[in-house]
Amino acid sequence: MTGQPVENLEETLNRTLERHAEKAPAPASDLIDRVETRYRKRRRVRTTGAAAAMALVLSGTAFGMWSDGGGPTTLLESSGTSTQALSRPGQKAEDPFETTPIEKLWPEAVHQVPARLQDGTEITPQALIDARTVLVSAWASFEKASALYAYDLATGKAEKITDVVTPKGTWLFASGFTVGDGKILWQTTSADRMTTIWSVPVEGGTPVAAVENIPAEAVGPAGSVKDGATAVPVEPSPSGVAGLGVFGGRVYWSGSPNGVYTAPLTGGSAELVAGTEKERLVRWPWAGRSVSDRTQGGDKTKTIRWELRNLETGEKKPVFSAPGGTDWNCWITWCSSVTENALTTRDGSQMTDLPGHLLDRGVVALDRFVLSVDGSRNKASVMVNDLQEGRTGSIALTPTDGGVSYSVLRGAGSRMYATPTADGHVIVDLEAID
């Protein structure tokens, strides 16, 4: 068995599939009539608003770098061949979301940041310090932050906050920038797979290591369902630190593969929040886990249940269930599936159709905003969908040689969405949206 070339199996697979395809049933002679009848029936249901069917929209391939990094960029590319060319049915007539250019819809929340500072330094927005100040990083080389600046949206001026030194042998460069309690935090991982969380005051200063020696996870996805783990990570991260956030003088993050960890912002050792061994942080104080129910004696996952609880008050949200093998992710109120291109509340009381196709893991930020993308290689838009108000702001993307590139939301706690445009970056302050 071992030593057999892989091609044998693959060739046989192709033959087997083609041979069995011939055994497919023949189309019913009245197929057209049946489809027409069903179509009309469904349409009646739809127009009375009784059932919201899922939008099935083909989008391009989203290539994500691992999602925990410094502003992961994904590329939208066409699928290439003529028979499988991009096909975009677009949104349905009944679509509840009305799309408007984002700067017209939410002028108070949308800002522009140039691609470079006045001295020519290339910058990338990382987080909002406050409503008028953006934390931007300047890259020494690809993904290697060399300095952090506070960019003033009103004046267009930038002030240096600190230099970010990348020690020799760093495996994962500074990433996961977050702002809270007057501090800026980020993380790096060394060659020996130890992660450090750094902190610097927003007014500037020298970065200090707030938490050191957090073990990064072994290479590969954490806690997959296959190996019998009971918890599936909400947000796996190779650094062993995911969803870094600051609340009430403490740092919180999800460990690897699971567990909610905390340390004082002033520095100290990491400790597990009691009872969270199998949970992951969605957005403090909400921690969730997914539990796989297996068939008796088999290795097949029958259903997966997503649980969520408030670590401060003990409040629990309704449990969401889906069949094993599906790719749902649950946030606070909402669960999303990229494969299904669907969003539903945990209790199933609401489903929603979005324009375009859900991005990345279908992250729902601030329990309210989710991104989708629609368009083609030459003309595409990212849409910021407001689930609370049913409004959509669109951002036109600029095509480059490889397609179009856009950023994704970092996590459920992200206040800022920033994505590259033709002449810089557009920034959306999600908290500034009424």
Partner: protein
Amino acid sequence: MDDTYEGFVASRAQSLLRYGYVLSGNPHDAADLVQDALIKLRGAWPRVINKRDPEGYVRTTMARQHISLWRRTRRETLTDLVPEGSYTDPVPSDDLLWRALAELPRRQRAVLVLRYYEVLSDEEIAAQLGISRGTVRSQASRALEKLRRTWSPAVMEGSTR
């Protein structure tokens, strides 16, 4: 290309059923998948024909439907397309690989069907299923690994160890 919806259905239904059959492994699901996708196409036809790829739209709809949650919860109501009594085990006793495919999770099987039946690149599969290229690769490799465990060339016709 025949630009009418009826013309498309008449000329492509058999091919779509074959696709549905290798995706799902059984004629009931194949018929359901095709019917459901055609209903969707019926509503979207003016937009889809404008993009000149109704076949791509239907096949994408079928693949996504097959691996999705909602379809599984309502499948029971959609089996009226197949004539009663038509289903007998279609698996030839000697075809271990076809049997092994039936044991795979839906998404893994879909990735293999798109790769080895539709002969799509991993990028195209990612676009079609709405998942990342990395997920396509990991799903394919897990699926192949499982198949290799139950299937070995030694038990196939004309192969020796």
